[in-house]
């Protein structure tokens, strides 16, 4: 047994060795089990207050959580687009019809191309007339103003750099007037995803501070209500860590409850928006799939809530317990 003679009047400085370590770990586990049970009791005995704290933290977590889901789903849509881009090839008006057919045959043999559809100038005119309802106006024209075109669908996973290579090759073909890589929407979608992601980060930071402050305030109230007990604990030799421990558990329980509340709020919002969203997506011939709302997401909410709760509790405990006068 070692002893620091200048700081240990009663000669009970920390023992070392395996037995001492086992005893220390056992004591640590005992203390935590006891404090965890007390904390659950404390939180459940003050259910109205606890519910209020859970809902507040839940709201604070639900908004960035919801934005995260939005961003994940936008990114998923963007990914789907990115895998199957299209290229539209427009020939000069009045160009030789064989040129378009020749290019179609050539592109069909290209490994990057899944399908090539030739739209003749006449077919394009009929489609335009049906779509725009301007039959009379077009009838006034002495010739068809629309070009022959090719709609090229590329195979899944074609690298973006390949778009430009292919476009350059097509542009050099006979009779080609213009080549359009159809990725404008993709770029817009990606920009929107980036915006939502950044907004999510900013809101997550702001609401995380809010969650920490809500927890800190609640824990501070708990500390104030037990001040007399804490003074007595300090008097009988409780360490700062021992005194702080119940409040860290309060923070953890408040945070975990807030995570559950956030998951419930997000579920409720999804239930409300899912039918109209499904109808909208269905009109494009696609089934609605919400990406990201998984057990991992739920676990992440719990972890985040718990971590923020502990941070809030630490903040409150450091502020209030640092200058605790014993008697």
């Amino acid at each position: 047994m070692s002893r620091n003679r200048n700081s240990d009047p009663f000669g009970d400085a920390r023992r070392t060795g395996p037995r001492a370590w086992v005893e220390r770990v056992a004591r640590f586990v005992r203390d935590h089990r006891r404090v965890a049970q007390d904390s659950v009791g404390h939180v459940s005995h003050r259910l109205p207050t606890s519910l209020l704290v859970w809902v507040l933290i839940g709201i604070a977590l639900a908004l960035p959580g919801g934005l995260y889901l939005l961003q994940v789903n936008l990114a998923a849509i963007a990914d789907q687009w990115q895998g199957r881009p299209g290229v539209s090839v427009y020939f000069r008006v009045g160009a030789d019809a064989d040129a378009a057919a020749a290019l179609q045959r050539e592109l069909t043999r290209d490994a990057r191309v899944e399908r090539v559809e030739l739209v003749s100038a006449d077919a394009a005119l009929r489609e335009f007339q049906a779509f725009a309802g301007v039959t009379d106006a077009l009838a006034q024209l002495d010739r068809n103003p629309l070009p022959t075109s090719l709609k090229v669908l590329l195979v899944d996973g074609t690298a973006p750099a390949e778009f430009d290579l292919l476009a350059a090759r097509i542009r050099a073909a006979r009779g080609v007037d213009e080549v359009v890589i159809e990725r404008t929407w993709l770029e817009r979608l990606q920009a929107m995803t980036g915006f939502v992601r950044r907004l999510g980060f900013v809101l997550a930071a702001l609401f995380a501070v809010g969650a920490v402050l809500v927890t800190a305030t609640s824990v501070r109230l708990a500390i104030e209500s037990r001040l007399e007990e804490l003074k007595v604990m300090k008097l009988v030799g409780a360490t700062d860590a021992y005194i702080r421990r119940p409040f860290l558990y309060f923070g953890l329980l408040y945070g975990l409850g807030g995570g559950v509340a956030a998951a419930m709020l997000i579920s409720a919002v999804l239930l409300i928006v899912e039918p109209p969203l499904a109808a909208l997506v269905g009109s494009y011939g696609t089934a609605l799939t919400i990406e990201g709302f998984s057990m991992a997401f739920f676990g992440g909410l719990l972890l985040l809530g718990g971590a923020l709760g502990v941070c809030g509790a630490l903040l409150a405990a450091r502020q209030r317990l640092a200058d605790l006068e014993v008697v």
Binding site: P9, G11, K231, G237
Partner: protein, 242 residues
């Protein structure tokens, strides 16, 4: 000079508060291990300050306080919990937790020390039985008389088998018979080797017990009588225990 193992020594201890009041002035004193000593004096004489300094609830303005040869004034904050676990303290207003039972109040120091719950139960029952409250261990303090509350405070102070037992006016609210019972209880702890220091202004009661008395008057040590209390004014510089 060899250090006095087990002794409590005050060397030139002065405590001056921020408002200029001197609660203790150049106090020199040594109490032997296992002794029982009464600290007396009028209200404001410095008795409570003396006990607070010994518990390291406050720091002296000047001087050294040695416990087992270690200057507790210089104890780092991290060593205070362990130090206080060896000191039992009883207060006139008990400092009991109103929403906790007698059992839980007495168990507090043991739980703080990390004791197993079955050992806690055994020790608490022994301490509560010793102060005659076993039948009331499940009651809240508010359902006890003042004397019973004081005995709960004593049980809590001794349950962890402290090496030093401090009591600040422990009989202040009690009738003479009950006061005498409480004092005999303290004597029992002294008989098993605990150093007991009791601050009290009840001169009649403490003189009847025939124990050493230290009298404080306006912060200075006026007399030490009778028994093994040493007015240490003439001692040489204290030695740090090595």
């Amino acid at each position: 000079m060899a250090p006095d193992v087990g002794a409590i020594e005050f060397h030139n201890v002065t405590k001056r508060f921020d408002n200029g009041t001197e609660a203790l002035r150049e106090v020199n004193l040594r109490l032997d291990e296992g002794s029982m000593t009464f600290l007396t004096g009028h209200s404001g004489a410095g008795k409570s300050t003396f006990l607070k300094l010994l518990l390291r609830l406050d720091q002296p303005t000047r001087g050294q306080i040695l416990v087992n040869g270690v200057n507790v004034v210089q104890l780092p904050d991290t060593a205070l919990p362990s130090y206080r676990q060896h000191i039992g303290a009883v207060f006139q207003d008990h400092h009991l937790l109103g929403h906790r039972s007698v059992y839980d109040n007495v168990a507090l120091p043991l739980r703080v020390a990390g004791m197993r719950e079955r050992d806690v139960a055994r020790r608490v029952r022994a301490a509560v039985a010793r102060v005659g409250l076993l039948a009331k261990e499940r009651l809240l303090p508010q359902h006890l008389s003042t004397g019973e509350q004081q005995r709960v405070g004593i049980a809590r102070a001794v349950v962890n088998r402290p090496r030093i037992l401090l009591a600040d006016e422990p009989t202040g609210n009690l009738d003479p018979d009950l006061s005498r019972d409480i004092m005999h209880l303290f004597e029992q702890f002294q008989q098993v080797g605990t150093t007991v220091i009791i601050a009290s202004h009840d001169r009649e009661l403490i003189e009847s017990l025939g124990k050493p008395i230290v009298e404080l008057h306006q912060g200075t040590l006026r007399s030490a009588e009778p028994g093994p209390v040493h007015d240490d004014e003439a001692t040489s510089e204290p030695q740090q225990k090595q």
